[in-house]
């Protein structure tokens, strides 16, 4: 069955530290992959997306993600987090017939 897993429910990092949020998917073929961010009380905003081509994609707010087919992963990274990055992050996989969000990772920033 198709699935999206975000294994970390909650992560706390210090301001200025690097960040990696994990996303693993299970699909029959390479899906389209997205990362969204949700600030408290807000809707979701697209950070970046991968359809094909270069496996390292750059997004907004200094985020990047790398698609690794061999590991079925699409992890989100940021070299130095800011307090304003505190939010919930969702990985999304879609194909011709399915749209599945991961369960989300809540990011807290330690001053």
């Amino acid at each position: 069955a198709q699935s999206v897993t975000q294994p970390d429910i909650h992560i706390t990092v210090s301001e200025g530290a690097s960040l990696e949020l994990r996303c693993n998917y299970s699909y029959g073929a390479t899906p389209y992959l997205f990362w969204y961010v949700q600030s408290p009380g807000q809707g979701l905003q697209l950070l970046l997306k991968y359809f094909s081509g270069d496996t390292l994609v750059q997004g907004i707010k200094g985020f990047e993600a790398e698609f690794k087919r061999s590991q079925s992963s699409f992890n989100l990274r940021k070299p130095s987090v800011h307090w304003s990055d505190a939010a919930e992050y969702f990985c999304l996989c879609s194909s011709a017939s399915k749209i599945i969000f991961g369960s989300g990772t809540r990011l807290s920033i330690r001053p």
């Binding site: 389209y32 809707g43 979701l44 194909s95 017939s97 749209i99 599945i100 969000f101």
Partner: protein
């Protein structure tokens, strides 16, 4: 700055009442999605439309939920009768689908927070 709008932003109602949530997608977008977000279940896709036709509503409880697009500028999600377990935030999103992808970027509205007492 084009954005998806949703009304109402908050709704409190009593069990058994009808609830209608509205969504205005971004002008020119041909795909509209309805999601429900709860603490327990996370984000669930309820239904989505392309060019106003329903493509998938398998995530929606058919006995009480209905989704329609009367025209290209309005999508509605109706619950009748409402139950306490329907309490959640309901998000609408719109996007522009190309022939090469089932879904490109989704632009989310601010959501409708529904409380059913």
């Amino acid at each position: 700055d084009a954005r998806v709008t949703q009304t109402p932003r908050h709704k409190v109602t009593e069990m058994g009442q009808e609830v209608t949530m509205r969504c205005q997608p971004i002008l020119g977008h041909n795909t509209v999605f309805w999601y429900r977000q709860t603490m327990m279940q996370g984000l669930e896709l309820l239904a989505y439309f392309r060019n106003r036709a329903p493509l998938d509503d398998s995530g929606m409880p058919k006995d009480r939920f209905s989704a329609e697009m009367p025209d290209a500028t309005l999508a509605t999600l109706k619950i009748q009768p409402s139950e306490p377990r329907d309490s959640a935030v309901y998000f609408c999103a719109s996007g522009l689908n190309t022939r090469f992808s089932s879904t490109d970027t989704q632009y989310f509205g601010p959501g409708t927070r529904l409380t059913v007492l």
